[in-house]
Amino acid sequence: MAKVTYLKGKEPHPREMRLIFRNIDRKGWDPSIKKYLADGGYKDLKKAFKMKPEEITDEVKKSGLRGRGGAGFPTGVKWGFIPPNNQKPVYLICNGDESEPGTFKDRYIVHQDPHQLLEGMVISCFAVGARVAYIYLREEFPEAAWIVEEAIAEAKKAGFLGKNILGTKFDCEFHVHRGAGAYICGEETGLIESLEGKRPYPRIKPPYFPAAMGLYMCPTIVNNVETLCHVKHIIGMGGENYARIGTPRNTGTRILCVSGDVQRPGYYEIEVGKMTMGELLNDVCGGPLEGRKFKAVIPGGSSAKVLRCTDKFNVASLPETEAREIDFVEIPLDFDTLAACGSMAGSGGVIVMDDSRKMSWVLNNINEFYAHESCGQCTPCREGSTWMKKITDRLVAGKATPADLETLKSIAYQIDGRTICAFGEACAWPVESMVDKFRDELLAETSEQNEEAPHNPEQAAQQRYLSSV
């Protein structure tokens, strides 16, 4: 294969390992099938068609691939949940809703390298027996919808999609489906409801596991864009070889999206677990801005619990790890360690805040997002997310009381675990972690005197009246 060179100023960092992002910002590259074929594209598909569908699923299981959308669930295991002896049609859905704040990896794949995604999807469809697949793209990627539709037409013309693919008698159709700006459509059952033409209210699991009861109550596999791209590479190199990349149980590469207060924000594809937080932020991203210090990091999209940069983390719960404490900069970037540190690797969106940021403002911004995006199906989430936003509104306006922090946490705990989908946790975790870890800072912005102050004009009028009689 030709040597890959990149656009000036967009060269990958030497510590990166570009597998999925190999063609992103590549010199002389465009999303056409011509470029993709000239680069050896669709070879892995031909290889996959020589295998049995179960063998492909086995390779994916062997690879240890974990979903890149947020939950980190093993992809091969997910595929295996399709009921045996199933008689209904099977659907594959590519989740390109990419809506977790801090995450911006799928954007580049769908805009610059759509054929990689399509190849991964045809292989996945063949493995799970899906004859129709939908690519659910967020509405805010209008350009991507045209690019992917064009790519589908090209792939059909070249015989990689449509009827009797490459003479194998396997038929498969892809359709692009655009969302309309709702975060909840990134949740797989919400996405399915949206695709059925309804309000995207998530379904309760159990019983509605998509692999058994998904789109039109048929078995449905929902995978993230990046995850489906990995499938192509797993077939290309073999599951066992793929599993050698990264670390045990945290295999392969993953794309980390760094934003916020660092010298060089951007996307970096690394071997999972082979880089620490300190290496990522200081070496790869160039450290904090001039004269600043890192204060807090949200490691996996805005719903992940915030980490304080001065903390020590006990990772004793990890298997094969001796009880020990590690510094923030020593945290390896994998699924399990971040979970042991009390947060999550989530969707790979790393948001960095330095000492110029007020955490009350940060939390209020996050709360506004979740209050806006709650679908409204479950009462704790619909009401609670708005209450939390109202309290942090007061906090940033200097009108909060010390007791408000307790109220905030109590609301968060009453949402957490009491909703149909994981949105409940997504909106509760930032509040729980911010209040726990930055309590002193937030407390300093409150005042006991505010307890006496009326919260609205009606109360103020009432208080004036009562003091006058």
Binding site: E100, H175, H177, E196, G197, S302, H372
Partner: protein, 188 residues
């Protein structure tokens, strides 16, 4: 009459931007495109095409009018209320005309840290937009001349190049407040 209830719920009101859009009228081209989209789904699952059809309408006429809802319902053989519940749910679907150029500024964390609120203020000042009229129910503010409209969007998924915005279908990254004038000049 079911229509009158629907009309009350979803009546589109005139905005300064209305003059830039043609009234709702189904052409052969739209009909054909709608039929093509409906065929992406099983014949007994036509309802799935509600978002694709609404996108066609919004792209063509700028927003989704009560007549458009009736048409989509008819096409998909469902009750208009089932279209309406979708229209009123999604932030990406509009019930009133935006400006000729609709600017969606990302307000979520990374963009806010990068100065998207300042960008929004600057755009409003330059375009003469009063954003105090915007609300949760009606998040779009249109300039008096009808050329511009603004709206805060939640995460546009380009946090590494904050602040970012969408102008109609064009994506712009790294738009600090200082670059707002250049952005508007590009479209004017």
């Amino acid at each position: 009459m079911s229509n009158s209830i629907l009309d009350e719920q979803i009546a589109s009101h005139q905005t300064a931007g209305s003059k830039h859009f043609t009234p709702f009228e189904i052409t052969k081209g739209i009909e054909k495109e709608a039929d093509r989209r409906i065929q992406h789904f099983p014949p007994d699952r036509k309802r799935s095409a509600v978002l694709p059809l609404l996108h066609i309408v919004q792209a063509e006429f700028g927003f989704i009018s009560p007549e458009a809802i009736e048409w989509v319902a008819q096409k998909l053989e469902i009750e208009p209320i089932k279209v309406e519940e979708v229209v009123t749910f999604y932030p990406g679907l509009r019930q009133h005309a935006p400006g000729k150029f609709h600017i969606r500024v990302c307000r979520t964390l990374s963009c806010a840290m990068g100065g998207s609120y300042e960008l929004m203020d600057k755009i409003c000042a330059l375009a003469g937009i009063d954003r105090t009229e915007a609300s949760h129910q009606n998040p779009i503010a249109v300039s008096p001349c009808g050329t511009w409209s603004v709206e805060f969007a939640e995460c546009l998924a380009s946090c590494g190049t904050a602040p970012v915005c969408l102008v109609n279908n064009d994506f712009h990254e790294g738009i600090s407040a200082e670059r707002a004038a250049g952005l508007l000049a590009h479209y004017e």
